[in-house]
Symmetry: C2
Subunit: 494 residues, 2 copies
């Protein structure tokens, strides 16, 4: 339906984005924020027509899409507020000491934007992590223009949302080139965008192979640029003995829901569940199996994802010593996923890296560990994750401090007695984690701290007050929090 952008088109788009950057980066925080709020308004006004389009492209149910749209609008508005509040700017002021030997100059630091940001739409979040999603909102807040590469699986949705952004840009008198929308089903478009010398950062949510390829392209550039790719996570869940004994049914029901939510198509889907071999674990597995059997197969986002699920699931359950516990009893139609749980021993897990891999869809593997020592061993062998979850009583936690510390070290979000699915949009959220969950564990793609992916500190030395940006002026006209001579304050500088 849409043809891939050519190299010449991409070059023109990035150059225009670079020009817009030099305008947009000078705009005050309020003007950036108002632009983001205008995008939210335009998105809302696309109404339910938009939902029909995206539903037909992604097979996602209307209720889910309504919620995701609301979340996307909330993101735009809440990151706009954070942009204006300006804490992400990390303003530091150290006033001069002229009579020191040598004299100490006046130094003032704030964040400035990196430049044009390329955002890759995600297949599983056509709104929230795509065209006007979190990466785009963070980049606009930071002061960067955005170039979105539409996800080919929801290109029309992306086109519609891009239209809303462009409409808002026009209304708010943004420079031409503040936003561009590019189609590309092949890898070549992504490559051209990421390797263009005027592209200064990249945001990506998707597969490990896709994210890692972009990271490699960036590292090999003459001028490497930051790539934040959120890629791959199996989100391990650990069932500790006392908790498992207390409530095996409740946990099984909770996880039956979490594993199959949204046909398992979340980056925080719990793909590995560890417990210690026992009657309680048997009971848990049995009830979880009953839940899984009841699951009605759901249609996946697109045929490519359905095929990958079918293939990877088949590989996983055919591994030596893996036993299939339960599958959904209703036969799947084309492009639908059979919810599945299987089990294997801790030793099998330690010996077979295939069992560590993410299977994107409603699949989870229960690992029967011999004892807590084996559970510590498996925790040490797990790669970086977006989330880890403990189902544990306070006694479980106190008795296994070394284990808890191991699990803490592998994840970006550490959940106690809950499920990893469901990612709140708020400042305290960390949606990130050690590699291969992301390419840089020091950043997040959810919450307004995600703005910092696209900004860098700039220090002004010995500038006169009149010439300084408003953020750094003595009188603090924007009433921002600033660290002045090591003290956090909103006071003016005297």
């Amino acid at each position: 339906m849409y043809t891939d952008a050519t190299a010449a088109e991409i070059d023109a788009v990035v150059k225009k984005s670079w020009e817009a950057f030099h305008q947009y980066r000078k705009f005050p925080l309020k003007r950036r924020a108002d632009f983001m709020r205008a995008i939210a308004v335009e998105m809302e006004s696309l109404g339910d027509e938009l939902l029909k389009i995206v539903s037909s492209e992604t097979n996602l149910p209307l209720l889910r899409l309504q919620n995701e749209r609301a979340r996307t609008i909330f993101q735009l508005n809440s990151y706009a507020d954070a942009c204006e509040r300006g804490e992400w700017m990390e303003i530091r002021i150290d006033t001069e000491i002229p009579d020191r030997n040598p004299p100490k100059p006046d130094l003032r630091k704030m964040m400035v934007p990196l430049g044009p940001v390329v955002v890759f739409g995600a297949s599983n979040f056509p709104f929230a992590y795509s065209t006007a999603g979190g990466d785009t909102a963070c980049a606009f807040a930071a002061g960067c223009p955005v170039i979105v590469k539409a996800h080919p699986a929801h290109a029309e949705t992306s086109e519609q949302v891009a239209g809303a952004i462009l409409k808002a840009a026009k209304k708010m008198n943004m420079p031409e080139g503040i936003f561009a929308h590019i189609h590309g089903a092949g890898f070549e478009v992504g490559r051209s965008l990421v390797t263009h010398p005027l592209t200064k950062a990249v945001g990506f949510t998707g597969s490990f192979s896709g994210g890692k390829a972009l990271f490699d392209l960036s590292s090999q550039r003459r001028e490497p640029i930051p790539v934040f790719a959120e890629m791959s996570s199996v989100n391990p869940v650990f069932l500790l003995p006392e908790k498992l004994k207390q409530s095996p049914e409740e946990i099984a029901r909770l996880y039956g829901g979490s594993i199959t939510l949204g046909v398992g198509q979340f980056c925080t889907n719990p793909g590995l569940i560890f417990g210690i071999d026992s009657e309680n674990l048997d009971q848990f597995i049995s009830i979880l199996g009953t839940e899984i059997k009841k699951t009605i197969p759901g249609t996946m986002l697109h045929p490519g994802i359905a095929k990958a699920y079918i293939d990877k699931r088949k590989t996983a359950i055919s591994q030596e010593s893996v036993e299939t516990i339960a599958v959904s009893e209703v036969a799947p139609k084309e492009n639908q996923a059979i919810a599945t749980i299987a089990s294997a021993s801790g030793q099998a897990f330690l010996n077979n890296p295939v069992l560590h891999q993410e299977i994107f869809g409603p699949y989870s593997l229960v690992i029967r560990c011999r004892d807590m020592n084996e559970m510590i061993s498996v925790a040490k062998h797990i790669e970086g994750q977006l989330t880890s979850t403990l189902m544990a009583t306070e006694t479980d936690m106190r008795n296994n401090e070394a284990f808890v510390e191991e699990v803490k070290n592998i994840c970006g979000r550490f959940i106690l007695n809950g499920v990893p699915t469901g990612v709140e949009v708020c400042l305290s959220m960390q949606h990130g984690g050690p590699f291969p969950a992301t390419t840089d564990s020091r950043f997040t793609s959810v919450g307004a701290d995600g703005i910092k992916r696209f900004a860098r500190p700039l220090c002004f030395q010995n500038w006169t007050n009149a010439l300084l940006p408003d953020e750094l002026k003595n009188e603090n006209p924007l009433a921002l929090w600033r660290t002045v001579n090591d003290r956090l304050t909103k006071d003016a500088v005297f």
Copy 2:
């Protein structure tokens, strides 16, 4: 004198560092800070014997070394204070909303350390950017153990300072492996350290070729890790017309001093000076030439640096259309540098990338631009820099806003009417900048914000108050600044 560490030795050291990491990261902020303060005390108590050693290894004068030692001690103490003050932890708390649909869980985020950090000693700062220098201090504050690769040009100094760190570690009951010291004159030692799977971050200050090689090694690891390399900068200075007209003599004297300070061996040495062709510029060049001629040649840090200076200077001044203006009149002895200034036209600069390169030593090239438009063109062609400097009146600034914006975009520190040499240690300092000045413009290697290079956010979801780390507990026992429900406060959470 010292032999290079073998691969087996390095493996053992990094493994021990990894073990220490699991102890040290649990230590409270105060205990980390006290350890850093103890290092400062031990360094001080090495006394003037240490200065003799380092002076013989680096040819640096005693006064400079006294100052650098004082600065290093100040860094350790001031980053220790910042570590305890905890603002770098960026604590965010969003309390639960149980009656929302779906219920909002309690979420609390803080910084946790990355793991063992490898620090490469710098040749030009045997104290402040070496063994117990800024990178080491930042890593300890973040909760990371450190492995220092000594710079071969001051290996004995490094050995002495390492002894002080180990003594402090013992006194403060730090885990074995909290610090290790490795010798290596060849590249192989660095490679083994950076590619070891348990190394989790790297700090480097030095040449572009050295830093970029480490960055590439990291990018090619199975698990890429953050490398902060501070590499290469020519620190352009722009003389704006009105200012130049007002005080050509004063500026020339100021820059005569800055170019030759410390035999030009600073990463912030001003290597390029741009002005608009005019009588005033001629006058400036003439006085600067007089200053340069008076310079007594100084012995460089080591023969390798002296040779590189001689070679690069020769290449630079032999470029077509480059004219040598002045050299120091006293003949240099072995390993001494002849201070030099040369000039070329704006067009020659635009056409010849050789003229953009850093020449580490007392060398600066004055570029005669035709007019302000050409000055804007050259600013657009300059690569990323640690610093840019404007010599300008308020009128100059107001008349050339587009130019000022261009210059702002290429540097980490933007100086008005001053010199780039002299890097204050304070929170508002940015010692970093766009590539190739560093490998990641979003971080700094000077000031306590440098701690953030070695830490990542971790979010705790639904933890009970008793189990949370002290930093995140309701009652705020450490009295830290925290953002609670989007509001910055030191209050307890109710």
